[in-house]
Amino acid sequence: MMEVPENFDHSEGRTFLAELQPLLQSDRPRIVLDCSQVQHMDSAGIEMLLNCMGEAMKRDGDIKLANLSPVSAAILELMRVDRLFEVFNTVEEATRSFQAVTLPDVPQSLPWYSPGFGPDDLKSAS
């Protein structure tokens, strides 16, 4: 999880991007950006967000936005970027959404059919 700076413009965005870069370089980066502090965001900031999402998706990862401040929500909606990101009310919800995607490991020893009603049950029934 990373917090987006209050003034998310070209100069602040570069610093932010430098901090985010190691996460983006990892395998399947799953990043949640907390936008609660954002009070100003310009098109350079939006472009940076889109680039980050592009980088994350190239590595089979994703970036999700959480806790949008009213200003950031209004700007993202104005620039039609809100529909490109998954947006959550809280950071916890966003984090949980990443966990929900991963499927639980199924033991290979289990048969493909329902274990509660196998061939033995059929025999005993007849």
């Binding site: 310009d42 929500a73 700007i75 909606e77 104005l78 620039m79 039609r80």
Partner: protein, 368 residues
């Protein structure tokens, strides 16, 4: 028997002296009553109603520094405009002048509310009730519209505080005039949006100016609408505005005069106030935009857009803007028109190597 009217611009209602007015001042540089809504400001409409009611003289008192007195206020017949620093002192002076000129009754109104009551009926009600001042009320409470009896108020000797007391006492007096007709108070920029929506819905007697090119679509003089732009009724496009290709104007939206809505932008349930340029490929939804400020009504937040390619003031303000900003707006940063066109052209061109290979006419394995 003469009848006068004093219209005041720049004085806030008691109810609006709150965070709402702070938001309004953050968004707008002048009082809400001075902004055009469907081609004419509410102040202009209030004055027009007095002129139509055959009031002998209308005095417009503008609080100093609150707004620029526009030529159209001066353009009315029998309307004199005065810039004042103390409103109550100015009202008192005006009432004295009226009294001296033989005008016995005067309307005193704030331009912050538009009402469609019968003004002569209000006057007759006041005369029959035999009180110094009569205040009008509606279902939401008292309105800043009074009728003052100059002779009973003894205006020739009155002081500003007496005048203020007189207007205040009218609220507590037993006989107030109840307005059943349409009333719109302007306390917040969202009221401008609501007023525009009400007019387009036909909730009041105001009709948008210009030509109704299709049912519910009004295009004012000099406005240009691209043939690929889509306007869904009801909507209003103001004087000399420019609606570019692939835009969508829908759900009771009004674009005021000298605005530009650029390529691919959607304006939905929004008011674009005068001299505003909306950039390309944007979604302006449930909002009021003025210059580079955007009030999102859904989120109740005012956003200042520093990027001139997205949102900016048009006209004289833009011409005096720094050359750097103008260059930036022309080039754009994220969605420039050039980028979009290049993208569109590249999508149309066939990509080398991606064309499907021609099917070989080999013998059918089934038929041999």
């Amino acid at each position: 028997m003469g009848l006068g009217a004093i219209v005041v611009i720049g004085v806030e209602d008691e109810a609006s002296c709150s965070t709402a007015s702070q938001e309004a001042s953050a968004l707008l540089s002048q009082p809400l009553a001075c902004f055009d809504v469907l081609g004419r400001s509410v102040a202009g409409r209030v004055i027009e109603r007095f002129v139509r009611a055959d009031v002998d003289v209308v005095s417009l008192l503008v609080l100093d520094g609150s707004c620029i007195v526009k030529p159209r206020f001066v353009g009315f017949k029998n309307v004199d405009v005065q810039i004042v620093s103390d409103v109550y002192a100015a009202i008192c002076e005006k009432l004295k002048d009226y009294s001296r000129d033989g005008i016995e009754h005067a309307f005193v109104a704030s331009a912050n509310a538009y009402q469609e009551t019968d003004l002569l009926d209000l006057f007759y009600f006041h005369r029959e009730s035999r009180q110094a001042a009569t205040r009008s009320v509606d279902c939401q409470g008292p309105l800043n519209l009074w009728v003052v009896d100059c002779s009973k108020a003894d205006c020739s000797k009155a002081r500003p505080s007496d005048c203020q007391n007189l207007l205040a006492q009218a609220q507590t007096s037993s006989a107030s005039y109840f307005i059943r007709e349409y009333v719109k108070r302007l306390m917040h920029p969202r009221d401008l949006r609501q007023f525009a929506s009400d007019v387009l819905r036909g909730c009041c007697s105001v009709r948008p100016p210009g030509q109704e090119i299709k049912r519910g679509i009004w295009i004012d003089e000099g406005a240009e609408v691209h043939r690929r732009a889509r306007i869904v009724a009801p909507a209003y496009i103001g004087r000399a505005s420019n609606i570019m290709e692939d835009t969508l104007i829908t759900r009771f939206s009004n674009i005021e005069k000298d605005c530009c809505v650029d390529y691919g932008t959607v304006v939905e349930n929004s008011s674009i106030l005068q001299n505003t340029h909306i950039g390309i490929c944007l979604d302006v939804c449930h909002a009021v935009a003025s210059g580079n400020m955007l009030l999102s009504l859904g989120r109740n937040v005012v956003v200042e857009i520093s990027d001139p390619s997205i949102l900016r003031a048009n006209g004289a303000a833009w011409k005096s803007a720094p050359a750097k900003d103008r260059k930036r707006a022309n080039n754009g940063t994220l969605f420039s028109r050039r980028k979009l066109k290049q993208q569109a052209v590249s999508e149309l061109q066939p990509v080398a190597g991606s064309a499907p290979e021609p099917c070989g006419l080999e013998p059918n394995p089934i038929q041999g």
